[in-house]
């Protein structure tokens, strides 16, 4: 029988290492899975985790995929620290893309350097607006933010689909459900030619540093942490619950919205029915993998970005089904949650009673 003994104080060492153990276990599980699928485990794992990084293009794609994951993950980490479970980042991302993208399309003929910044602002506001719905319903009506934010994701995706099938459809596009391609002024400039990496990637270090300062140096960040860990102590201190909920959701929504417009205006270049391969959900894993710490989120985002491009690469090189990516992500989160037990508890194997003296 396995028993868990509380350690009293969280282990700082295990807190750093449990993600590493979880990743290692996921890789081992992946190898076994590939074997079961009849693929050579070694070559498959190489194709999945190593060879995508052997070219400049591969590394740049890592940045392309990691940018939205990290930006969303930073916002979610703040929310999860505060115990505010915003799991509708996918919807906020979509709204960011829609609002920023619509602005770009509305000023299609205008060639101004202000257009792109305006689109970014519109994207951020769009994400914040979408996140303000669960914030309002939670603070005003006590409605569960998990379910509300998630339901709004479905609504957002349907809204995007409606727009690219209708009002925002390219008039010269032969009824194809896509918008026009953005004008140059509505596109994020390229950072490295020959790749899809754009200047938007610079929001990652900016965002990570800002969130780190917020969490570790300001009283506001402290309030969020207290509210998440010990809500009664937060009430004792006099921290206002609605303010914390609004702040967490607006910050998360704004960052997701920024990620959305960067994806649309930096990587894709137009509005299409699908603008995200599930970034909003994968970012939940990123936040946990990064231990809800900004630096961890950056590393976690890179790791999860690798599962995306690794999945594509393994599909091309080895013929592995692309669904493996989602599976890997789920398994990684399971292992991570299981390994977290090592932070708070000591595992003892044996019966509950030691030998009688």
């Amino acid at each position: 029988m396995i028993r868990l003994e509380p350690k009293g104080e969280d282990s700082r060492v295990m807190s750093r290492f449990s993600p590493v153990i979880a990743i290692a276990l996921t890789v081992v599980t992946g190898g076994i899975l590939f074997g079961l699928l009849g693929k050579p485990p070694g070559a498959s794992l190489y194709a999945y985790f190593i060879s995508p990084l052997s070219t400049l293009y591969g590394v740049s794609e890592l940045g392309v995929k990691a940018t939205p994951l990290i930006l969303i993950g930073l916002g979610l980490a703040i929310g999860f620290r505060a115990g505010v479970w915003n799991i509708g980042a996918e919807g906020q991302f979509t709204l960011g893309g829609i609002c920023g993208g619509a602005l770009g399309l509305a000023f299609y003929e205008i060639d101004s350097i202000l257009l792109m910044p305006a689109m970014l602002v519109a994207g951020i506001l769009g994400g914040m607006a979408w996140a303000s719905i669960p914030a309002f319903l939670k603070t005003r009506f006590n409605a569960n933010e998990i379910l509300v934010s998630l339901m709004l994701t479905y609504v957002a995706v349907l809204l995007l689909s409606y727009l690219v099938h209708g009002p925002l459809r390219d008039p010269d596009g032969f009824y194809f459900p896509e918008s026009r391609l953005f004008h140059d002024a509505a596109m994020m400039p390229n950072l490295i030619s020959g790749t899809r990496l754009h200047w938007g990637v610079l929001f990652v270090p900016l965002g990570a540093i800002a969130i780190w300062l917020l969490l570790s140096k300001t009283i506001l960040g402290f309030q969020l942490k207290v509210y998440g860990q010990a809500p009664r102590a937060a009430r004792f201190a006099g921290y206002k619950e609605p303010r914390i909920i609004w702040f967490s959701l607006l910050l998360g929504g704004g960052l997701a919205g920024l990620a959305g417009i960067l994806e649309v205006g930096g990587t894709i270049g137009q509005l299409t029915p699908v603008i995200s391969p599930g970034y909003g959900f994968t970012a939940i894993i990123v936040a946990f993998l990064g231990r809800l710490h900004p630096l961890g989120v950056v590393l976690g985002g890179l790791m999860m970005a690798l599962t995306y491009i690794g999945g594509e690469n393994a599909q091309i090189e080895i013929g592995l089904p692309s669904a493996v990516t989602g599976l890997f992500q789920g398994v990684l989160l399971f292992y991570l949650l299981a390994c977290d037990v090592l932070i708070k508890y000591r595992i003892r194997i044996g019966s509950g009673r030691s030998a009688r003296v």
Binding site: E5, P6, K7, G8, E9, D10, K217, T218, I219, L220, F222, K225, V226, Q229, A230, R232, A233, A234, R235, F236, A237, G238, K240, R346, G352, R353, S354, R356, V357
Partner: protein, 537 residues
Amino acid sequence: MASSETSSGLTSDGAAYQLELTSVTKAFPGVLANDAVSLKVKPAEIHALLGENGAGKSTLVKMIYGILKPDAGEIAWEGKPVDIAGPNAARALGIGMVFQHFSLFDALTVSENIALALPAGHRSDVDGENLAEEIARVSKSYGLPLDPAAYVHDLSVGERQRIEIVRCLLQNPRLLIMDEPTSVLTPQEARLLFETLRRLSSEGCAILYISHKLQEIRELCETATILRGGRLVGTCDPREETTQSLARMMIGETPLKPKRDQATDAMSDRPVRLRVDGLSVPSGHAFGVSLKNISISVRAGEILGIAGVAGNGQSELMEAMIGEVLCDLPHAIAIDGKPVGKLGPRKRRELGVCFVPEERNGHATAPGMALSENGLLSADKRMGLTRNGWIDEGKRNGFASDVVSRFNVKTAGIHAAAGSLSGGNLQKFSVGREIVQEPGVLIVDQPTWGVDAGSAAFIQKALIDLAASGAAVIAISQDLDEIFAIADRIAVISEGKLSDASPVDDVTIEEIGLLMGGIHRGDPGDTSQTRPGGGAS
């Protein structure tokens, strides 16, 4: 010292002991809760298990009741060694237990609660009418009135205890364990309980009575086993001991009673620092107590003690004082003449009130956070620990170090998590954090609840010193001894209403007891109708 009867398993008159523990040991990470403790309970005896908080009494009885497993040692029941696998096994043997923190289900009815503790297939299972009848029979014959169809969340603490007792009695126990049963009762209710227990004993049921209250042990018990720091100190006949000699065995040395200096000037000349005027707060949740028309005034240099049985509105009063729940009227609470009824906790602190809520883990402190960070919770504004929203780490750490050193908090350092401290040390930190801020008004709820004697005396002295320096102090406490030791005046809270305050020298324990039971001076005071304080009426 330990009983001289050594013949294994037999009492002096040759009968088997009802229960015999031999060298029972139980360790938790970092604590040796019971170190080779032995205990012998004769049939039909009322046996006290005496010790202060943290002496290991609860751990010992949890092993008897099968909730915990001993690491070493033997348990014998009616002369035969037994292995008590769990509470079900204990009940099958004939052991019943009434917990200090009741094991009741708020959302279920009285009869459902009782059915859950009966073995499956008991002749009156689940909602059968048999069970209701049987509850009625037992509760009538032992004077423990109960409505089987009532929901537990609607019942008073005294009524809840009756459920626990009836639940045990339905199984005809041979040994009944009572864990600190009077801590939730008025003195009058406690006397009724003693009658029930004596009656049970006369019918052949042994009783293991856990307490740290010396007077009631001398009144009730025939034998006492005394624990200190997890070790057996001795066994005695409490009727032949004095309160002082029992206290010495329990604590080791006579604790220093905090001493109050007589006030030099007349209290009535001093300014009122805190005034509460007609404070009414409807209960925010289904299971809470509403506060009704509460008025208090406390002057500089004064300690007002608020007594009462747990669950009569103390935590609701504390929430309203802190500002976690706001009042409808700004004037309901005034600090130094300034109305604060509609201000939140932070604004109230700026005006000079500090608070120590009852629950130190999770309410007064965030257990997962460092002591240094916990200092920020209530002191950031008053002590200037932040500037424009940025935390000044130097000042933050300095403040926490100050509290730790001035209040003698034993800890690995200010970066240790609050949850890693012992109860007494965390309480000293929680009280110290507020007193170091030099408040004009301090409101504390159960300042020494569950704290070792040394820390308790330290905290009581700190409260007295604070008042002496000119602050007004309110101490809400269930411990009447504590209130009589530190307070100038005393008021009693019952069912959300607060009695008038009287100088401690003018009231007797008996009068306080009646007030705790909801009977006010001048009421037709028939004690036989004493009803325990209950939920909102």
